[in-house]
Amino acid sequence: MDVSANQPGDLAAPGEPGARWLGVAASAGLTRDDLLGLYRVMALGRALDERMWILNRSGRVAFVISGQGHEGAQAGITWALRPGEDWLAPYYRSITAVLRMGLTPREILLGSYARADDPSSGGRQMPNHYGHIGRKILSVSSPVASQVLHAVGIALAAKLRGTGEVVVTSTGEGSSNQGDVHEALNFAAIHRLPFVYVVENNGYAISVPSARELPVDDVAARAAAFGIPGVIVRGTDVVGCYVAAREAVRRARAGEGPTLIEAKVERLTAHSSDDQQTRYRSEEEIAAHRALDPLPAFRGQLRAAGVLTAEAEAAMAAEIGEAVEDATRFAEAAADPTLESASSWVFAEDWPGERPPAWGDGTGRD
């Protein structure tokens, strides 16, 4: 296990002298623009996510599953990728990661509203099942961890075709126990594929605490079984997440094989809009976890380092607020899928044998 090798020091601690912090970020290759970009995508991810809950609670969208608390890890890790050129196989909490890789707020809310123009599925999938193949964002499927083998297959093709692409996928720690994950890491390690497996460990699989999911504290420990590095980062340490991912991506591109990155994060919401987490989590625990919110942690670091001024912060907040408003208006006004489209695209072409039966199907349309 390679737990501490890529830790650039305790960047998360509030009160850390700003100059030293900025020095670490700079030595990681992060410019001021990078740092502001990281913050912006995190803040946008949060604002859009909060909007989804409002839309859910006001009956506008039927479901939401959240990325709140995971933004720091997602932003830091995907910052090491080239949007549009590298691949992301996201999961349902990946809102900040997919924003970074090029999905827009409008496109995300089209999915929440299940509109015809939802680029992920045309309204066929649940909200937060992100996807956009043109931007190399693989379609999310609800059966957890099912994308991990696909990501490895994409990496295999990238290697055989010599495309230079790197493939990143992420799951929760609960999902990391699925057999498919072990099969994927095994194959990817054997063939030294350009693959990075990210575990966003928030300590829970719905209600089941990690002690009931895993016999060890760290999913990263499992990397040793495949002979690959297993790196632990904290989701409040955005720069540390970036540094770990940059090294994993370097290895991947250099043909040195996969890396497992475990990001310790917090789930700041219930599992989903259908879950009531007070059934299994105490109010004190929920309040304590709020203190591990990556957004104010990173904001504090940026302020202390003089990267984020009050004016810049206000301007960014206004711009993000407008982007969220615009996306809401746009998705609210967009059209639903048509009935005529309901049975299209089961196959590439229509087959007579797949048409509804001559006897009729009770719809009166026969």
């Binding site: 649940m126 909200p127 609800s142 126990n177 699989a205 999911e213 797949e354 039966p357 009770g362």
Partner: protein
Amino acid sequence: MAVRTFIEAIRTTLAQEMRRDPSIIVLGEDVGLKGGVFLATDGLQAEFGEARVIDTPLTESMIVGVSIGAAINGLRPVAEIQFADFIFPAFNQIQSQAARMRYRTNNAVGLPMVIRTPYGGGVHGALYHSQSVEAFFTHIPGIKVVVPSTPLDARGLLRSAIRDPDPVLFLEHKKLYRSVRGEVPDTDYVTPLGSAAITRAGTQVTVIAYGLMAHHALEAAARVAEEGISVEVIDLRTLRPLDTETVLNSVRKTGKCLIAYEDNRFGGYGAEIAALVAEEVFDYLDAPVTRIAGPDVPGVPYSHVLEDWFMVNPDKIAAGIRKLAAY
């Protein structure tokens, strides 16, 4: 006699059976402290402890495979698969292992185990929280497949399933959980496996259904009754082993048969009933055996427009009945 919801019938029956038989364990994702995502196991861990009510890792193959081993060694596992859509990582364990154990050991090893799982659409669950999975499993000799539609049968059939010496897949339509109430006696009654119920007597058309469709079929039958069409409705309750006599006797009487199922039409469970009726009572038929079933798209889509299009409902069944009656 208490009036209970479907899910209360499941929950209270699990508790009663666990009190009766200490070899029963419950295992699955979130079944313990949370009491299951639908609260079907609410309170069980508090009463029976963490040893008998196990929150498992998020691994369905493990849930079923470990249940098989536990059943071999003296326990009666009642496993929960959180959604039927997620049973497929365990398909290998169910179809190649659980269903074959008695046969492959020439009756030396049986597996008294139940796999409960919520299935079905109409709840805005989209492609992966709506599926009807029965046809995959009714195809397999060696596993019983049970689908209650009322709280009364949920209790009676769950009891039978738990006490059965062989593996039973117990499918609970999630839309029924809280929408259906009914009287549930507190006696130790069982509803035997392999027995269908005639839920409405009639003379002109037999409608065969199960799960949510058993309710929709009754509603459709009531509607067309106002138009003078007399429908007999059969709730199959157990899909395998099938109560063939109840089905065939009804069709002998009415001469017309419609099967309503929510699953995709092609190769769905209703196709087996249609083949059975055609083979066994052809001489009694006055019309083609027909089906009203879900369309052949891979999964129930999420958008309201598309979901409504997908779901079989009383309107569609009534239209099918009218057409058949007029034939």
